[in-house]
C-alpha cells in the first residue's frame, strides 16, 4: 500500500511541471486575442500535441547524450559536432539508398565511431576534457566541409519516405532507443555504476580498482549510440549545412536547458524521466509563446532566460525549503 502510494506520489510530482506549464500557458493564451482564429483558441489545437512530441523527442535525444557525459564527470563539447557530421553522412547514405532504416543504422555506427575516436584521443592524449573535446569539435566541423562536397544534406528531411524518423510516429523509435541505451548503460551495466563512483571521487574509484580508461571508453560508446539516434532525428527534421567556428556547440547548447531542469524534476523519479518531462514542459511553453507571436527573437529569449533563471534559483534552494518545512512541522508538533 505504501509502495503504490509512493509511485502515485512520484508520478504526480513528475507530471506537475508540464501540467502547470500547460495551465499557465492556457490561461495566458486564452486571455489574449492574438491566440484566437475564427473564434478558436489555437493553443488547444491538435498541432500542440504534434509539435510538442516532435520537438521534445529531438530535445530528449540530445539532452540524454549531454547528460550521460555530465553525470560521469565530463562536459563533452564535441557532441554537437559529432551529431552534425553523423547527420550529414547518414543523411547522404539514406538518400543514396532511399532508406531511412539504413540511414538510422549508419547514424548509430558513425556516432559510435566518432565518439570512440574522441574517447581514444582523450585517453591516449591525457588532455583536459575541455581541450580535447574542443579540439575534436574543430576537427569534426572541418570534416563537415569535406563530406559530400561541402554541401551538407538538404533534401533528406523534405521527402516523406526518407524523413519518417523526424515525423510522428516514427520519431518515437529513435527516441525510445536513446532512452533504452541511456537506461541500459546507467542502471544495467557495471560501467554505468562505476561511472557514478568515478564522478563522485575519481581517486577513490581508481583506488578500489575501477579501470577509469575502460570506463571512459564504454561511456563514449553509449554516448555515440545516443548521438547517432539524435542525428537521425535531426537530419529528418532539418537541413544540415556544414558548420565551423564551434557553431555545433551552439546547436548542442540549445538543448541543454532540459538537462539541468530534468535533474531537479528527476529527483521525484529518475533522471531520464526528469529530462523527458522537462523537455515536454519546455516545448509546451515554446508552443504557447509561438501562439502569442513571441516564439522567436529577443522576447522569447528574455522570457525563456527569466524562466530558467527562476527555476534554477528555486531548485538551488530546495534543501533550505525542505529544512524550513521540517522545522515548521516540528514546531507545529511541539505546540
Amino acid at each position: 500500500m505504501k509502495g503504490s502510494g509512493n509511485i502515485i506520489k512520484k508520478i504526480v510530482l513528475s507530471a506537475i511541471f508540464p501540467i502547470l506549464m500547460f495551465v499557465v500557458m492556457l490561461i495566458i493564451t486564452a486571455s489574449n486575442d492574438k491566440c484566437y482564429v475564427n473564434g478558436k483558441l489555437i493553443f488547444l489545437s491538435t498541432d500542440l500535441i504534434r509539435q510538442v512530441i516532435i520537438n521534445a523527442c529531438m530535445t530528449i535525444c540530445v539532452a540524454l547524450a549531454i547528460w550521460l557525459q555530465l553525470k560521469n564527470g565530463r562536459f563533452d563539447f564535441s557532441g554537437g559536432a559529432s551529431m552534425i557530421l553523423t547527420a550529414i553522412i547518414a543523411g547522404n547514405v539514406g538518400l543514396t539508398t532511399n532508406s531511412p532504416v539504413i540511414a538510422l543504422l549508419v547514424a548509430v555506427v558513425v556516432g559510435i565511431v566518432l565518439s570512440s575516436v574522441t574517447a581514444i584521443v582523450y585517453i591516449i592524449g591525457r588532455l583536459p576534457i575541455i581541450i580535447c573535446t574542443i579540439g575534436m569539435t574543430l576537427l569534426y566541423e572541418s570534416l563537415t566541409y569535406l563530406v559530400s562536397g561541402g554541401q551538407g544534406i538538404r533534401i533528406f528531411y523534405s521527402q516523406a519516405h526518407t524523413s519518417i524518423f523526424g515525423r510522428i510516429p516514427g520519431v518515437l523509435v529513435p527516441t525510445a532507443l536513446a532512452v533504452a541505451a541511456f537506461v541500459i548503460f546507467t542502471y544495467f551495466t557495471a560501467a554505468g555504476r562505476k561511472g557514478k563512483v568515478l564522478s563522485n571521487n575519481q581517486r577513490a574509484g581508481v583506488n578500489i580498482g575501477i579501470d577509469e580508461k575502460k570506463n571512459v571508453f564504454v561511456t563514449y560508446i553509449f554516448t555515440g549510440i545516443i548521438i547517432g539516434l539524435a542525428a537521425i532525428v535531426y537530419v529528418s527534421q532539418h537541413e544540415v549545412a556544414p558548420q565551423s567556428g564551434l557553431a555545433t556547440s551552439g546547436i548542442m547548447f540549445s538543448y541543454i536547458v532540459p538537462v539541468f531542469m530534468g535533474t531537479f524534476i528527476g529527483l521525484a523519479s529518475c533522471d531520464v524521466v526528469g529530462i523527458a518531462i522537462a523537455a515536454i514542459g519546455m516545448e509546451i511553453m515554446n508552443y504557447g509563446l509561438n501562439c502569442l507571436n513571441l516564439g522567436a527573437g529577443g522576447w522569447q529569449q528574455i522570457i525563456m532566460g527569466i524562466f530558467v533563471l527562476g527555476f534554477y534559483a528555486f531548485s538551488a534552494q530546495t534543501d533550505k525549503i525542505q529544512a524550513f518545512m521540517e522545522k515548521r512541522k516540528k514546531s507545529a508538533k511541539s505546540a
Partner: protein
C-alpha cells in the same frame, strides 16, 4: 659576459630575419605580366542575344588583351548554388580575361568585420572587388579609394547606400555600379510576378484551384521591396476578384506572425492561417518557410510560391514529389558579368563611349520557374549544374563586352544583358 653578448647577437639576428621576412611578404603580389594569348572561346557557343551585335565586329577588330589582374569577390555565404555556380562561371573566364579571382565571405551584421575582409583583399593586392553586401559601404569605399582599388556590386541593390550615402558611394570614381538581385527598389514587380504564377497554377489545375493564400515577408527595414511586393500582390488579387468566377482570398499581412525576423516561420502560422492553401513567400521560402511546413506536416496539403533556390526544391516541385513548390526565382550567376566588365574597363584604363557619369544599380531579370517545363530548363542552367559549360556567355563573349576587348562594345549592350537572363534564355 660572453653569454650576454651571444644573446645580444642572437636577438639582433632574429630581428633582422623578421624584418627581411616582413619586407619579403610585402612585395610578393606583383608578378610579371603574363603575355599568354587569350584562350579559345571554349566549348559552348554564344547565345547571340546580347553583345552579339558587336561580337561580329569584335571578331574582325583586333582584340586588345586585358592586363593581368586580380579581382576579389566577397560573397554573403561560403557555400550554396549561387556561390558555387558564380565561382564556376568566373573561373571559366579567368584565362581569356587574364583575371585571377580570390574569394571571401562577408557578414550580414558586422560593419567592422566587413571592412576588415575588404582590407584583407586589398592587402592581397587585388585590383578590383565585387561585393555582395551593403554593410559598411562608406568605410569600404574610402578604403578602396585610398588603395586605388575599384569596387562593384552583385546580388545587392545597395539601397542603404543609395538612400543615405549616394554621394560617397554612387558618385565615387571607384564604385562602378551593381547588378541587383532581381528588381531594384525603383522597379518592383515581384508582387505581380507571384500573382501571375498563382493564376498560371490555377489555370493548370482548374479542377482544384487555390482560392485562399497567406503571405510571408522579411522585415521592412531589411527588405523594403518585399513589403511593396506584398502590397502589389494584394492589389493584383483584388483587381482579379472584380471579374473572377472563383475569387481568391488573401489573408492580410500579420506584422507579428507573417514577418519573419530571419528565423523560420512559427509552427503556429498554419493555425493562424487555418484556411490557407498556399503561402506566397517573398522571403526565402526554402530556408525559412518550407522546413516548418514539413515539421507541421502540411507539405503535402499546402503549396509554396517563393524566391530563391537552395537545392533540393526540384524534388518536390510542380508535379514531382509532394508538389509543395510551385514557384522559385533566382538570379543567374552570369549577372556578375556586369560589375566584372565595368571593373575590367577601369583596371585597363578604358571606358565605354556611352558610360554614364555616375554608377548605377541595374535590375537583373530572374529565372522564374513556375512549371515543370521551366524546371526542366532550369536544371540545364549554369546555376543548377554549377558547370560553366552551361553558362549563357563564353569567355570570348565576355571579352567582347569589354571596352578593351571590343572597341565597339557599349554600356547599353552590357546593361542590356541583365534583362535577358530569363528562363527562356537557357540553352
Amino acid at each position: 659576459m660572453k653569454k650576454a653578448l651571444l644573446k645580444k647577437i642572437s636577438a639582433t639576428m632574429l630581428a633582422g630575419v623578421m624584418a627581411i621576412s616582413a619586407v619579403g611578404c610585402g612585395s610578393g603580389g606583383n608578378t610579371a605580366n603574363n603575355s599568354s594569348a587569350p584562350a579559345d572561346s571554349g566549348t559552348t557557343s554564344s547565345d547571340s542575344n546580347t553583345a552579339s551585335g558587336d561580337s561580329g565586329d569584335a571578331e574582325s577588330a583586333p582584340a586588345v588583351e586585358g592586363k593581368d589582374c586580380t579581382i576579389g569577390v566577397a560573397f554573403y555565404t561560403d557555400t550554396g548554388f549561387a556561390v558555387d555556380s558564380t565561382k564556376a562561371y568566373l573561373e571559366s573566364l579567368s584565362d581569356t580575361l587574364n583575371v585571377k579571382f580570390t574569394y571571401t565571405v562577408l557578414t550580414q551584421t558586422d560593419e567592422a568585420a566587413n571592412l576588415t575582409k575588404i582590407q584583407e583583399l586589398i592587402s592581397s593586392n587585388v585590383d578590383g572587388i565585387i561585393c555582395t553586401m551593403d554593410l559598411g559601404m562608406t568605410s569600404i569605399i574610402q578604403e578602396c579609394e585610398a588603395a586605388g582599388v575599384y569596387l562593384g556590386g552583385y546580388l545587392c541593390d545597395y539601397d542603404t547606400s543609395y538612400n543615405t550615402a549616394y554621394d560617397q558611394v554612387f558618385k565615387s570614381d571607384y564604385f562602378v555600379g551593381s547588378a541587383v538581385d532581381g528588381q531594384s527598389p525603383d522597379a518592383v514587380t515581384i508582387g505581380t510576378t507571384m500573382f501571375d504564377s498563382l493564376i498560371e497554377y490555377n489555370e493548370r489545375n482548374a479542377d482544384a484551384p487555390i482560392t485562399h493564400v497567406s503571405m510571408a515577408i522579411f522585415p521592412v527595414w531589411a527588405f523594403p521591396t518585399q513589403q511593396v511586393g506584398a502590397e502589389q500582390f494584394v492589389a493584383a488579387v483584388e483587381a482579379y476578384n472584380e471579374t473572377a468566377e472563383t475569387p481568391i482570398t488573401v489573408d492580410p499581412l500579420n506584422e507579428e506572425s507573417d514577418v519573419l525576423a530571419f528565423a523560420p516561420l512559427d509552427t503556429t502560422y498554419f493555425a493562424k492561417h487555418a484556411d490557407s492553401q498556399a503561402i506566397i513567400s517573398f522571403a526565402a521560402g526554402s530556408a525559412f518557410v518550407y522546413p516548418t511546413m514539413v515539421q507541421a506536416g502540411v507539405d503535402s496539403s499546402m503549396k509554396l510560391f517563393t524566391t530563391g533556390f537552395d537545392g533540393g526544391e526540384d524534388v518536390n516541385f510542380g508535379t514531382s514529389g509532394n508538389g509543395t513548390y510551385q514557384q522559385i526565382m533566382v538570379t543567374a550567376p552570369e549577372s556578375i558579368t556586369y560589375p566584372l566588365v565595368l571593373l575590367l574597363n577601369k583596371i585597363n584604363g578604358v571606358s565605354f563611349s556611352d558610360q554614364p557619369a555616375e554608377a548605377e544599380r541595374v535590375s537583373s531579370a530572374q529565372y522564374l520557374v513556375n512549371s515543370d517545363e521551366d524546371m526542366a530548363s532550369f536544371q540545364k542552367s549554369c546555376f543548377f549544374t554549377k558547370d560553366a559549360a552551361n553558362a549563357m556567355y563564353t569567355p570570348q563573349d565576355v571579352l567582347n563586352m569589354t571596352a578593351f576587348g571590343n572597341p565597339n562594345a557599349t554600356y547599353a549592350d552590357l546593361k542590356g544583358i541583365l534583362s535577358t537572363m530569363t528562363i527562356d534564355s537557357i540553352k
